[in-house]
Amino acid sequence: MSDASINASTLREDEAGFGDYFALLKPRVMSLVVFTALVGLLAAPTPVHPMVGFCAILFIAIGGGASGALNMWWDADIDRVMKRTRGRPIPAGKVEAGEAMVLGLALSGFAVIMLALATNILAGAFLAFTIFFYVVIYTMWLKRATPQNIVIGGAAGAFPPVIGWIAATGDMAIEPWLMFALTFMWTPPHFWALALFMRSDYDDAGVPMLTVTHGRPATRTHILVYTALLALLAVGAAFSGLGGPVYLAVALVMNALFLRGAWRISRRDETASEADNFRAERSFFKLSLLYLFLHFGAILAEAVLKPFGLGGW
């Protein structure tokens, strides 16, 4: 029996499935985008219709995913070299780089237009700027040009709560920018810890991470300095419109733990790290994920408790 719709000469055993295209959207990064954007949306003083809120988060997530696909298209060459990214759909040979570009561009346009229609034009414009920032400013320009790539590029990942807030209010305020600053300051220590224990990955790919350009001891010091600045900001935010007793308690505990972790990393040398397979660096990286989750969770808790007269000061 023959199948007229299949041309045997173009068949590929490893043809991509639906999941491979979904993997282009970086689902794990998307989950962070969804969570922080949701907190931004719910912390805003303007109530949003649940359906509008759902759509806002969905389109912000799709926009985030689209920028992930464009990042994978552009970075396919270095993804092939790095152990951590070798299994991504393009280096694994399942999806063509061009397909990722088309998917990324199409979803970017779709997400921006739909967010603007569902909420307001300012939110749509901010989503468009975020995609532009992540793809053009970070991926295409800074990532391969400067060791500060993570610092400036971190701004792209910090925008979702701002977009969520604007989607709800249609306006700016200081609070979403505090959430922005929290994620922005958190990103460098988070990624530098990863760079410390992923060792040669960035080196092999020629990405000028701080570990490669300034050395590993300097990276350890940078982690401590950024963590100290982050702690000031995170605890200070407790006394803004976002904060309250729950947030303050979380910020005090988590920042004390985070500072302790950063201090330990700064006091270690390579011999000690290699002896225990980067235990302190790995646990700091894990703690950083919990750190961000709990801070945003506390902001959400304060916002949810406010109508009952419990949240905030």
Partner: protein
């Protein structure tokens, strides 16, 4: 590559087509739900026209 009636390729393509189909159906449901939400919450309400009788 020999193609059998139920080759793995067919399953993968079916999965992809099913995924796209479900996404399109989901999109229709979202646009419908969003329209209902907007209409019922008064987002599309026209401002009442000023009465011309009062100006005469």
């Amino acid at each position: 590559m020999a193609i059998k009636v139920t080759h793995d390729l067919h399953k993968r393509r079916f999965g992809r087509n099913l995924g796209v189909g479900l996404l399109l159906a989901g999109f229709v449901a979202i646009v419908f739900g969003l329209t209902i939400a907007k209409v019922t919450s008064g987002d599309f309400q026209m401002k009442p026209a000023t009465s011309s009788a009062g100006q005469n």
